[in-house]
């Protein structure tokens, strides 16, 4: 456990999980806001289905799609070349993992944030405006605090699912995650179940702390 390699792997996993969570929150919030508070009823239902279907369609297929898109001769570099831009070597890097994780877990963030925003009564917003608050103040002082439990609820998924994944690092990355180490020691060549179990306590502890904090933030009611 003192081995520097394993420490790096643990820190990398937790770091990327945090980054993915932040990215998804930033992408999801304006989207969920539009869906819950601005879109017409029909548009809202449509958007709901459009978010739900990718969430339920094959997880492997979505990762595989990105492997093809980011590949050297994939759609990304093709589009860049068409636009006259230099091609990228993003395939099989940490950046690729960050993009793909953010992509596959995005619906998990959108839905709880949407649910939280939708629950805010219009009267709260009106009251705030009647009391003289400008749009931005109302957003910051009324909408945001009420939507926060939804964001935390979504972050439980984006964070936990990234911590426990080894498929994405295997298929689109070239570095190891906690999941890869556990997998290799349980089922792979370096068979060492006690070590794998000990190493798996890292995500377990991290999630324990995270869930305790989330519970305190009222995220469980927003799940």
């Amino acid at each position: 456990m003192n081995n520097a390699t394993y420490r790096t792997i643990a820190l990398r996993t937790i770091g990327i999980a945090a980054l993915v969570t932040l990215t998804d929150a930033l992408i999801a919030f304006p989207f969920a806001y539009y869906m819950a508070r601005l879109a017409s009823r029909r548009t809202r239902t449509l958007l709901f289905v459009l978010v739900l279907l990718p969430l339920w369609s094959s997880y492997l297929a979505r990762i595989y799609a990105w492997r093809l898109i980011l590949a050297h001769d994939g759609a990304l570099n093709w589009s860049l070349a068409k636009l006259g831009l230099p091609t990228t070597g993003v395939a099989y890097t940490n950046t690729a993992m960050w993009i793909v994780f953010s992509y596959v877990w995005l619906p998990f963030m959108i839905l709880p944030v949407y649910a939280a925003l939708e629950r805010i009564p219009d009267s709260y917003v009106e009251a705030s405006r009647d009391l003289g608050a400008k749009g931005w103040t109302t957003f910051r002082r009324v909408v945001l605090p009420l939507a926060l439990p939804g964001v935390v609820a979504g972050s439980i998924f984006t964070f936990s699912l990234t911590l426990g994944d080894y498929i994405t690092p295997t298929l689109v990355g070239n570095t190891q995650f906690i999941g890869n180490v556990v997998y290799r020691n349980v089922l792979g060549l370096s068979h060492d179940l006690p070590f794998a179990a000990a190493y798996a306590t890292i995500p377990l502890l991290v999630m324990g702390v995270y869930l305790t904090l989330a519970k305190r933030a009222g995220a469980f009611e927003a799940l």
Partner: protein, 265 residues
């Protein structure tokens, strides 16, 4: 409270997010018709050849059967246990109720490798050999949650007075269940079952720890992508899977539009 500029930018943002969510799916579907066996963009030409190759592949076919069996059994287990847990938690107060509701939901909040290693070490300590049943047990851990959440959401919206009225009118416990309770929860059960099935059919991480040498369809796909083998066939299979998820998910969404099946939670 939003200005017109804000509204417009948010609408543009929403459109961009939908594009982001969908273009990889559309692209992977196009690859299924790629006439070349080199997976580069743009695809070389149009063919249906790989569908017939995939259909006649015995390995893929037996993997499909194993996946269907496991999903069917895991869904059945989840229906029974998830429904019972949902009724217990929402209809009765008992010691440890909050703990039970927390423990039922925990498997989806826990990283997949943890559930995986826990099951793998349990099977190895109990010297249980890997079989269809070890896969089913692994899948049931998270399928139960889906059914449980659907039924709990439905029960929360149903007044207990409905059941009380039935009893007051002279129905016994079984009749009340048969004519009042069951019709109330039936669509929640169907949608829970559909979603549990979809979840099990798609699962990779926990399955790798509980399948041993067996191949479910996702394991077959994962193995082939990792090793870069039979990719044109994988594309065709993936296309069929994506197309096949559209129907059950849409049905489940319709059935529970009152409670909102929401997320996978």
């Amino acid at each position: 409270m939003e200005t017109r500029g804000t509204r417009f930018s948010l609408a543009v943002w929403a459109a961009a997010v939908v594009f982001f969510l969908w273009f990889p799916l559309v692209l992977i579907c196009l690859y299924a018709f790629n006439s070349s066996n080199i997976q580069s963009w743009p695809i070389a030409g149009f063919t249906l050849h790989w569908f017939s190759v995939a259909w006649h592949d015995t390995e893929a076919r037996s993997a499909l059967w194993l996946s269907l069996e496991a999903a069917l059994l895991a869904t059945s287990v989840a229906l029974v246990l998830g429904t019972m847990a949902a009724f217990a938690v929402s209809r009765f107060r008992f010691f440890g109720r909050d703990v039970v509701s927390f423990i039922v939901v925990l498997p989806i909040a826990l990283p997949g490798v943890i559930t995986g290693i826990a099951l793998a070490s349990f099977f190895s300590f109990g010297t249980i050999t890997f079989s269809l049943w070890t896969i089913v047990v692994g899948h049931a851990t998270f399928c139960i949650v889906v059914v449980y959440n659907n039924v709990v959401a439905r029960l929360r919206r149903t007044q207990t007075s409905l059941m009380e009225a039935s009893m007051d009118l002279g129905a016994d416990g079984w009749q009340t269940f048969r004519y009042v309770t069951f019709p109330v929860v039936s669509t929640a059960l169907i949608s829970g079952a559909l979603l549990a099935f979809a979840l099990s059919f798609d699962e990779v991480i926990v399955t790798t720890f509980t399948a041993g040498a067996q191949n479910t369809l996702p394991l077959w796909i994962f193995g082939n992508i990792r090793l870069g083998q039979q990719l044109p066939e994988v594309n065709a299979v993936v296309f069929v899977i994506i197309a096949a998820t559209v129907l059950p998910v849409t049905i489940a969404q319709r059935l529970t539009s009152d409670t909102g099946i929401l997320r996978r939670t």
